[in-house]
């Protein structure tokens, strides 16, 4: 490993542990970004060659925004990791898309404690600003079953620290636990608020199961809250957000002002959260990044930042990505106001128009790293 990796990671972990409530100054963020860039430039040859080609090195860097960003797609084709690193502590994979033959991306994580530190404070601030502990009920599969899911890891790690117990209701194959109704009944009987976590798709399944008369989620105690995620990624949603939330409220009694959307991606180890539990419904539709994650909306043609409030493609600099690559250009579209993101969705663009088959997918069928 790079001689400065452990030291930099330890400094970042300590800063992350201070919490996510107080914004970092530009100077503070910039100096950490510089330290991260030095490690990544010096240790990852794939990334270094991109930086060299663009003429950006630690020696001539003027601002963190000049640090070359890698396209999120590149996680499908390259492992961004220290050339001298041993086996990573975890390998997270992106979920498949609607185009099944497409390569999946992967994110190698050399130090999981940095991921844990990055996820805990923002999750606590978004889901449990008013409580020290609560029982978790998860529709996201157990990380023991799905070790390559960064989302499962997040839920597991958060439960280890913040939960007074967790029930996993959906397995890796998407099958629902026979205990589903009993778990909700027991939770209701205690009267203690719970944290219910799931993807938009899992909640939709819960709603549909209930409509068919199959065992599903039930009423949960007052003060319970929901983390809903995944709604902005991948396949088109079949239901609107209001419909989905209406369905969740109908099943569990948890009102819209306690349904929190999480926005994250495998390529980034930090997440963004809707601050609805703190700011009420005014916080709906905006996602707040952790202070160690900065977001810019860029013009898709020029890659120059667009004015505040205007839509662009989202480009993230995530200090928690110390072990891979911090600056990531996505295909997600949104605007940024005062550091917060208003998501528009994902640019569905890559599909070529016309009768030409996406040849590159054919060529890549066997070539995943």
């Amino acid at each position: 490993m790079h001689p400065r990796f452990e030291e930099t990671a330890a400094i970042l972990e300590a800063r992350f542990a201070e919490g996510s409530a107080v914004p970092w100054t530009d100077d503070a963020f910039g100096s950490h970004a510089f330290a991260v860039f030095v490690v990544q430039y010096e240790s990852c040859s794939v990334y270094r060659s991109l930086c060299d080609a663009r003429g950006i090195t630690p020696a001539n860097l003027a601002a963190w925004t000049d640090i070359p960003a890698v396209p999120a797609t590149a996680f499908k084709y390259f492992d961004f990791i220290d050339d001298g690193a041993g086996a990573p502590e975890a390998t997270f994979r992106t979920s498949g898309t609607t185009r099944g033959d497409e390569a999946r991306g992967r994110h190698l994580v050399p130090r999981l404690s940095l991921y844990r530190a990055a996820l805990l404070a923002p999750l606590r601030a978004a889901l449990m600003p008013d409580r020290g502990r609560a029982r978790f009920i998860s529709l996201i599969p157990n990380p023991v079953e799905v070790p390559d899911s960064s989302l499962s890891y997040m839920v597991g790690a958060a439960a280890d620290t913040l939960a007074g117990g967790i029930d996993w209701l959906v397995d890796a194959a998407g099958a629902w636990s026979s205990e589903t109704e009993a778990v909700c009944r027991r939770a209701a009987a205690t009267g203690e608020p719970v944290v219910l976590l799931g993807t938009a798709l899992a909640f939709q399944h819960a709603i549909e199961r209930a409509a068919r008369g199959e065992p599903s989620l039930g009423r949960l105690p007052d003060g319970s809250r929901v983390m809903e995620t995944g709604g902005f990624k991948g396949a088109t949603r079949h239901v609107s957000r209001d419909e989905l939330h209406g369905g969740i409220t109908g099943l569990t009694g948890i009102p819209a002002e306690r349904i929190v959307n999480e926005y994250g991606m495998t390529e980034l180890l930090s997440q963004l959260w809707e601050p609805v539990l703190v700011e009420g419904l005014a916080g709906r539709g905006v996602h707040r990044p952790a202070p160690w994650l900065r977001v810019r909306a860029l013009d898709p043609v020029t890659l120059h930042p667009v004015p505040e409030g205007r839509d662009g493609i989202l480009c993230f600099f995530d200090l928690a990505n110390l072990g891979s690559v911090a600056h990531v250009l996505t295909e997600d579209v949104g605007s940024v106001v005062d550091g917060r993101v208003r998501l528009r969705g994902r640019a569905p663009g890559a599909e070529p128009r016309g009768c030409s088959r996406a040849m590159d997918e054919l060529m890549s069928a066997a070539g995943q790293p």
């Binding site: 396209p71 640019a347 009768c355 088959r357």
Partner: protein
């Protein structure tokens, strides 16, 4: 419902329902006898009259096409004009008659029993041909409807999104010159994948021609009754092979033109190029020349502006290619923010995001004899192979390309516009549509 009759003005966007399809199919079937009474030669003549209107700069049909194509097909105005020229020059009576001869030898076999190769034969078109076209290359819909009308098949066509305009204008033009023939054609719009509508159409057809992704073709095929012939044109792709005897600047310029036409949307476009090394040609140097030609073409055949989604995908493509270039001795040239062309030299083909717009990948090929291995992953999706500089080895190229799945081997410059009689995916486009009847004489 959208059938455009004489003087039909409303080339609009109303979407058909399953009921519209049912009604149109019944009406089209009723138009069959009138079509059968006409001679094939007469039909080709009338269709040609409409076709050449798209080449006449004073004709309102051409003017409307040129005015609306850039917007409706997402092509730059210059490109729209070139594409229309290239497409419509195949819609003349002369070209259509040549297609009939190329396919049937003696096209009168469509009108009456005819002696062909010592056999007494007659060819019958289907009582109803349904064509479900996808893809936004303008003109494909007109090519498609010409084929079925030439074999006297009443035709229901759903053009691809982005190709409605020319298809509907052609139907309108036909209505203006020959209401009888126009009565055997219906152009309908619906959203591809609308199951109830497509099931109705696939059930009604005697012969169905479907264009689209493998998944689309598979889904439509599954809807058809066992007795319906389904001809599927699934997704295909084109490549270029540049032999070591090429004149590099000319080959690079020809390749760039074929990349620029349709902005790589077609199955006839060269998405990857292999350059034969071991002679005077250097693959990276050739890629640099292609880049130069692409930059140059931007002024004469400008690319269409990209949607934000496409621009975003292009950033992913370029960034990934740059990473790869640094890691494995490749190189990337592109038009920056000013133009979407992107030339990626990768000595060996490696997985990467899909090239789009004017993107092309260039690889090195040790020798023509190993081209089969390079093309193998394309398998059943390979269609057009453009070439330059193989001299006396052309037959060998044809053999290797054919074994690899290709059905069309053409000079680089000719890739974009196959003639009407081309062997579409390896089969005769009119022969696909007909049923033969043979009579044996009493002895």
């Amino acid at each position: 419902m959208r059938r455009l009759g004489p003087g039909g003005q409303g080339v609009g966007a109303r979407e058909a329902s399953a009921g519209d399809v049912r009604e149109a199919c019944a009406r089209l079937r009723a138009a069959g006898p009138e079509l059968i009474r006409r001679s094939t030669d007469d039909i080709a003549g009338v269709l040609g009259v409409v076709g050449v209107r798209f080449l006449d700069s004073d004709d309102p049909l051409r003017r409307e096409a040129l005015e609306r194509l850039p917007h409706e097909s997402g092509l730059s105005p210059r490109m729209a004009s070139e594409v229309l020229e290239g497409m419509a020059s195949d819609w003349s009576a002369e070209r259509l008659r040549r297609m009939l001869r190329a396919e049937f030898g003696d096209p009168r076999c469509l009108d009456r029993p005819t002696e062909l190769n010592g056999r007494r034969l007659m060819a019958h078109g289907p009582g109803l041909c349904v064509q479900i076209v996808s893809g936004s290359v303008p003109g494909v819909g007109v090519h498609a409807l010409l084929r079925s009308l030439l074999v006297k098949a009443p035709t229901l066509i759903k053009p691809g999104r982005g190709d409605e305009l020319l298809t509907e204008l052609f139907a309108q033009g036909l209505g203006e010159v020959d209401s009888g023939l126009a009565g055997a054609l219906a152009v309908l719009r619906w959203r591809g994948g609308s199951e109830a509508i497509e099931r109705e159409a696939m059930t009604a057809a005697d012969v169905a021609i479907v264009y689209g992704s493998d998944a689309t073709v598979g889904a439509l095929r599954a809807m058809a009754p066992a007795t319906t012939r389904v001809v599927g044109y699934h997704h295909r792709t084109g490549v270029a092979l540049v032999g070591r005897d090429s004149e590099p600047d000319r080959a690079a310029s020809d390749l760039a033109r074929s990349v620029a036409f349709f902005d790589q949307r077609g199955c006839v476009c060269p998405h990857r190029t292999w350059v034969e090394t071991g002679g005077p040609l250097d693959a990276m140097d050739f890629a640099a020349r292609v880049a130069q030609a692409m930059a140059h073409l931007e002024s004469s055949l400008p690319a269409a502006p990209l949607s934000p989604e496409e621009a975003s995908a292009l950033q992913q493509l370029r960034g990934t290619a740059e990473l790869r270039a640094g890691a494995s001795g490749g190189r990337v040239w592109h038009g920056g923010a000013a133009a979407p062309w992107t030339v990626i030299f990768e000595p060996d083909p490696v997985p990467g995001p899909t090239t789009l717009a004017r993107g092309v990948r260039v690889h090195a090929l040790q020798d023509l004899e190993v081209a089969g291995e390079a093309l193998a992953p394309l398998g059943e999706h390979l269609q057009t192979v453009g070439y330059a500089g193989f001299g006396a080895r052309l037959d060998r190229l044809m053999e290797i390309a054919g074994r690899s799945g290709a059905s069309r081997v053409v000079p680089l410059r000719a890739m974009s516009f196959p003639p009407p009689w081309w062997l579409h995916d390896g089969r005769g486009p009119l022969l696909e549509l007909v049923r033969w009847v043979e009579v044996e004489a009493e002895r």
